[in-house]
Symmetry: C2
Subunit: 408 residues, 2 copies
């Protein structure tokens, strides 16, 4: 669907940007040289930026190069790691104008209905290149299901270590693609993942380090969100991003930073990290002035982003963009979720964190974009209640309509 | 997002194509002149085809006219009814190559994760134009939720008469957008809908007639699926469409027929209607040589397409395209659902009917397209089971991996 090939050249340490590694093997545990016993530093992918044809960002580029509307993130192949895993048509999600100047980037429009598909296209490609027979992932939901889908599509096995309290609809979702789904206590997920990587040779596509690093290629997939926002809108004043480990945050930042570096744009948006107040490792890291830290996580329904450890990527994205972290209560998240639904967008609670962040900041010079990461089907409450039948008499129906404020 | 305006001119009877009605008011109960006590004939929208600039179908058209990638079906505004309801970015779904020559049109990538969003953008637009304060719909799932979403987005109230045995995740889905959801026995839905239309002035966006007609504008939204397939692939040899009332079937057919009429293409694909064997009103109508008929519906999990009445639109689409109806058992549907999942696409059982139809036909000169209408989250079984925790010891995990065929 595209004739483009990658301009990726190497991996580069975020701990010390002068340290470079070859592009292969992709590093799955961050930068070995700069990481310490308490802080793990991620790596990122470097590209031959001088060789990028910036016509790539012209509106007519896809048509001129016979790139299909279904090409997905491959549309941006020169600035991505090699995409040898088959596509599921990820990316190309719409930007919906919620009110004048406020836009929702609706990531529930991906193949498994979350932003995680962009990451998994990249990491599954690396697994294939590494010759692995399968992949392994620790996830409470979207990442696990997306990994299962891309593994299935690529003919790889997939093992998902997941939480014991997975919502029932999400449980069905993670099982749908033929993965081996193993619900275990959160504290056991990482040791077991290490065993599966070391003893069985499965390829890891989620984090394995003390503070978050994850796979070298993951955040690269998220950059395409920035490219797409730019294609739709130009450069917004701010982007509000639901944040767990900060990979998405960093990817969105890096995409805009690349557009500026390439001379396509002159400015970058401020990036705001939207964390649940129940945890908030990035807020804590910024407050303490450290590269990453660990926090206790209290009760929250925002299970998609309730992380106890953060990662250095988030600190970099906030510092470089002039943004800041925001802590959102479940009440604020629920209000944002209701606001989205009242405009026709049903988002998972964690996904509403972007809009909740904007609302916490109050009025802001626009345009602004709030990323909504995932569909309401993944919410904790889905499937727990069913409606009672209504007696099918007109008097009863009329009573229901009137009590809902409908003139009947 | 687009400067285009509609070229719609009138409504035209399918019962007698020489009978025309003004474009407004949109007919919500089919053609009053040709319908009888037993057969209701739908109407369709006519356009000033001679005025269509066929550059509309060029790959570079959107870029050349500054149409945003998020414009949704508005991209094709000249050949749609007036779209005055706000967009949720419907349409623009990807075509995924399942195997060489076999493509899946993944309609789960719409705003409420089914094809119904294309219809509801059109019908909600008509409701706004009619000055209604709200809409009313009878639906077992996708149509009701999509109507609720577009109504919410447009500031209209929405009443959904739904089935009493709605799957729990679908129940949450229909409630998500603030609609009044009333589960009643199927036989009571239509009389109650008539009351709500007549007594409360709500605007109907689903069928109200003996055999199916539905809203005049609904199938128009589905035409855009044909335009998009053409943009991605050209004209396939065949399209396999999950079929309930036959509106989607007709829309896909009409889109391709328009491309031929406008001279954009020389051929049209054969259209295959994929019905559950438990019912199959279109298969029965074709067998009996009648415009539409009613059948008894036996047990099936394909609740999205288990209709007892059909409509004349389906007969027209099959006859004009040289296609035919196919009856699929639940076993065939489940096999197709598994096949899609094993390629990374989790579809509702009803949505897998397109691929099931192709598999029933066996090898076929390609390329062929199977429409997959909706996401697996809408399936009857979702939310009924949850996984048991796994003891987090390596010996136990290894046992599970080995029993799944993973070398551990």
């Amino acid at each position: 669907m595209t004739a483009n090939s990658t301009l990726a050249t190497a991996q580069r340490s975020l701990g010390d940007p002068t340290i470079r590694y070859p592009l292969w093997p992709a590093l799955t545990m961050g930068c070995p040289q700069t990481s310490t016993a308490t802080i793990s530093y991620p790596v990122e992918v470097d590209y031959a930026y001088d060789s990028v044809d910036i016509a790539l960002f012209d509106p007519g580029y896809a048509a001129a190069h016979a790139i299909s509307p279904s090409a997905g993130i491959e549309r941006w192949a020169p600035l991505l790691p090699p995409l040898n895993a088959p596509s599921l048509g990820e990316g190309g999600t719409p930007l919906i104008e919620l009110e004048p100047g406020v836009f929702i980037k609706d990531e529930s429009r991906n193949p498994t209905w979350s932003h995680k598909d962009r990451l998994n296209r990249c990491t599954t490609s690396a697994a294939l290149r590494a010759g692995a027979s399968g992949i392994v992932v620790a996830s409470s939901g979207n990442h696990g299901a997306a990994a299962a889908a891309y593994a299935a599509r690529a003919g790889l096995r997939c093992v998902v270590f997941t939480a014991e309290d997975t919502p029932p609809a999400v449980d069905a979702f993670m099982h749908a693609y033929g993965a081996v789904v193993l619900p275990v206590p959160v504290a056991d997920r990482w040791p077991l993942m290490h065993k599966v990587v070391e003893d069985c040779g499965l390829y890891p596509v989620s984090n394995l380090t003390t503070t978050h690093t994850g796979h070298a290629f993951g955040a690269e997939g998220y950059k395409t969100i920035a490219y797409e926002i730019h294609a739709d809108l130009g450069v917004p004043a701010a982007v509000f991003v639901p944040s767990g480990y900060g990979e998405l945050l960093y990817g969105v930042w890096k995409g805009f930073a690349e557009l500026r570096r390439l001379g396509v744009t002159g400015a970058v948006p401020r990036i705001f990290a939207c964390e649940p107040a129940a945890g908030g490792p990035l807020s804590a890291a910024v407050r303490e002035g450290v590269p990453a830290t660990e926090v206790a996580v209290g009760p929250t329904d925002a299970y998609g982003i309730d992380c106890s450890v953060g990662g250095y990527r988030g600190v970099v994205a906030l510092r470089e963009s002039g943004g800041r972290p925001l802590l959102l209560s479940d009440n604020e998240l629920h209000a944002a979720q209701r606001e989205l639904a009242s405009s026709g967008l049903w988002a998972e609670l964690s996904a509403a964190a972007g809009l909740a962040g904007l609302r916490q900041c109050g009025d802001m010079e626009g345009p602004v974009v709030c990323v909504s990461t995932s569909s309401g089907f993944k919410d904790v409450s889905v499937g727990l209640h069913t409606s009672e039948p209504v007696p099918p008499e007109w008097a009863e129906v009329r009573r229901r309509l009137r009590s809902a404020g409908i003139d009947a």
